[in-house]
Amino acid sequence: MSQKKQIELRTDLYYDPVESLWISVQDGIARMGLSPLLQESTGSFVAVRFPKPGTSLEKGESFVSLEAEKHVGHLKSPFTGVVMQVNEEVVEHPRLINTDPYELGWLMEIKLSRPEELNDCIQGEEAVKAWFEAELQKYNDKGWLAQA
């Protein structure tokens, strides 16, 4: 018979509730990737496109294009800032986003021009857990998640 799997939610990170991104911040630079729920519900990724390092972004501006087997979508930047680095490994191997969303599957780093925009993100174990549970329910209701 098939085996059940589980996903892990890291609660020491910020989460962007608009696009379901995880965010870690160090020295004013935000590294981000897809939450495990977003990667699971999108399907197997086949292509990723990033802006070039040095590109200036406004909060809410489309900045990443993701293509999965049956889906294509654009992510909106949670921050105003400048693209410092993109993960070239996921361009070569987009499935890394599925297999290791928090580590090898990270997407890009942005230097924050307005650090106060972090206040729009969710942070803290209880808040993150509550948000994630609500998201889980929403994704299930939409039929995007497999069920036992």
């Binding site: 018979m1 098939s2 085996q3 059940k4 799997k5 589980q6 996903i7 892990e8 939610l9 890291r10 609660t11 020491d12 495990p36 699971e40 519900s41 999108t42 399907g43 197997s44 086949v46 292509a47 293509e67 999965a68 087997e69 049956k70 889906h71 294509v72 979508g73 174990e125 857990k129 994630f132 889980l136 939409k142 039929g143 995007w144 998640l145 497999a146 069920q147 036992a148």
Partner: protein, 365 residues
């Protein structure tokens, strides 16, 4: 670092297991049955479930364009088919899911592969399905594994439609892509014997023949086979060649979009409006260069609203309501490309682009 494990009620794929107890299903089917997480780029209902037999040594044919071809690099288990993964599940689990989601199901189909066990296992799976669910069931058959008696037995077991993946529509292109190949050659005559036997046994409009645009055929080849099949009350189903990476045709181009759209339109007009062949103009190479429609308001309306987009929807076996039940979303195009065939009725914006792609002003005489 704080990690909270969230048990997701998600099943992982099974390891190496074979038919009849295990089957592959298309990625879209796995999503519809909620065996696999995922979503479609656009929101539409989907209930056409495709099952594919699975064997350790895979399909014994070696067609130049197919993802399952014997000489395509890689293990059979890892091969894509129509460019996407086909996850493997227990057959009974898949049938249980089909029963669970029965109201959403529109059409089921078992795809055989060319293999010594394919007939026996297709019959077994057909019986397992028809015992549990009422959703209409098609079989996409592998002619080398069948004869009249076996076709009849499959019908008696509950299959209501037969599909034959002829794919290459002329004897020449069939030979080049499916017969004159490194391993496992197929026979044009054998395919047609099974098409005609299926028509006898299953009846009018219960047999379909898959025809792929882009395997080296001319437009005239394609149009001629449409007429040939309609005259025999057999449906041609239209497919768009989509190169499978690493297959022998992996670097071949997809058919040009204008050619594809015109073939879709003309096929629809033949099937639904009785368009006569002498109204289609070809050049000396068999390329469709013009269409002379009869005058009258009926035909003006065809051009005005492009039949509401129906000609550009997926060709596939019907559900119980008579609408297309097998829609194969993103089967012959990537989500970033224009829909070669729409798994839903094209919307106003879609029709705008379809009209541009058709270039009707250059096509209508």
């Amino acid at each position: 670092m704080n990690n909270i494990p969230f048990p997701l009620e998600v099943l992982t794929e099974d390891e190496k297991k074979y038919s009849p107890d295990y089957v592959r299903i298309s990625a879209a089917s796995a999503m519809a049955l909620r065996l696999k997480s995922g979503r479609f780029a656009r929101d539409f209902s989907f209930g056409g479930i495709n099952l594919l037999l699975n064997y350790d040594n895979g399909c014994l044919s070696d067609c130049s364009y197919c993802g399952l071809a014997r000489t395509r690099p890689g293990e059979y288990e890892e091969k894509s088919f129509i460019r996407v993964e086909w996850p493997l599940y227990s057959t009974d689990e898949v049938i249980e899911r089909i029963a669970r989601y029965a109201p959403q199901m529109t059409r089921l189909c078992i795809s055989m592969v060319t293999h010594g066990r394919a007939y026996r296992d297709t019959l077994d799976i057909t019986r397992r399905i028809t015992e549990k669910v009422d959703t209409p069931l098609s079989l996409l058959v592998a002619p080398p594994t069948l004869n009249r008696e076996k076709l009849q037995t499959l019908k008696d077991a509950g299959a209501d439609m037969i599909g034959v993946g002829l794919d290459a529509v002329s004897k020449e292109t069939f030979f080049k892509n499916r017969t004159d190949v490194p391993n496992g050659s197929l026979s044009w005559d054998n395919y047609w014997d099974i098409i005609y036997a299926s028509r006898d046994i299953y009846g009018p409009w219960k047999v379909n023949v898959h025809t792929v645009v882009g395997l080296g055929e001319t437009d005239a080849d394609m149009i001629d086979i449409f007429y040939h099949l309609y005259e025999r009350q057999i449906f041609p189903y239209l497919f768009c060649f989509n190169p499978e990476p690493d297959s022998r045709m992996g670097q071949a181009p997809k058919p040009e979009i204008t050619r594809w759209r015109r073939i879709q339109l003309v096929k629809h007009l033949i099937e639904h409006r009785g368009l006569q062949r002498d109204r289609i103009e070809f050049d000396a190479d068999g390329k469709m260069i013009g269409l002379r429609l009869p005058s009258g308001s009926e035909w003006e309306s065809v051009l005005e609203n492009l039949e509401g987009g129906i000609p550009f929807m997926t060709d596939g076996c019907p559900g119980e309501d008579g609408e297309v039940g097998c829609t194969r979303p993103y089967g012959s195009y990537r989500p970033t490309e224009s829909y070669r065939d729409f798994p839903f009725r094209p919307e106003k914006d879609d029709l705008y682009y379809i009209r541009q792609e058709l270039k009707l002003d250059e096509f209508l005489l």
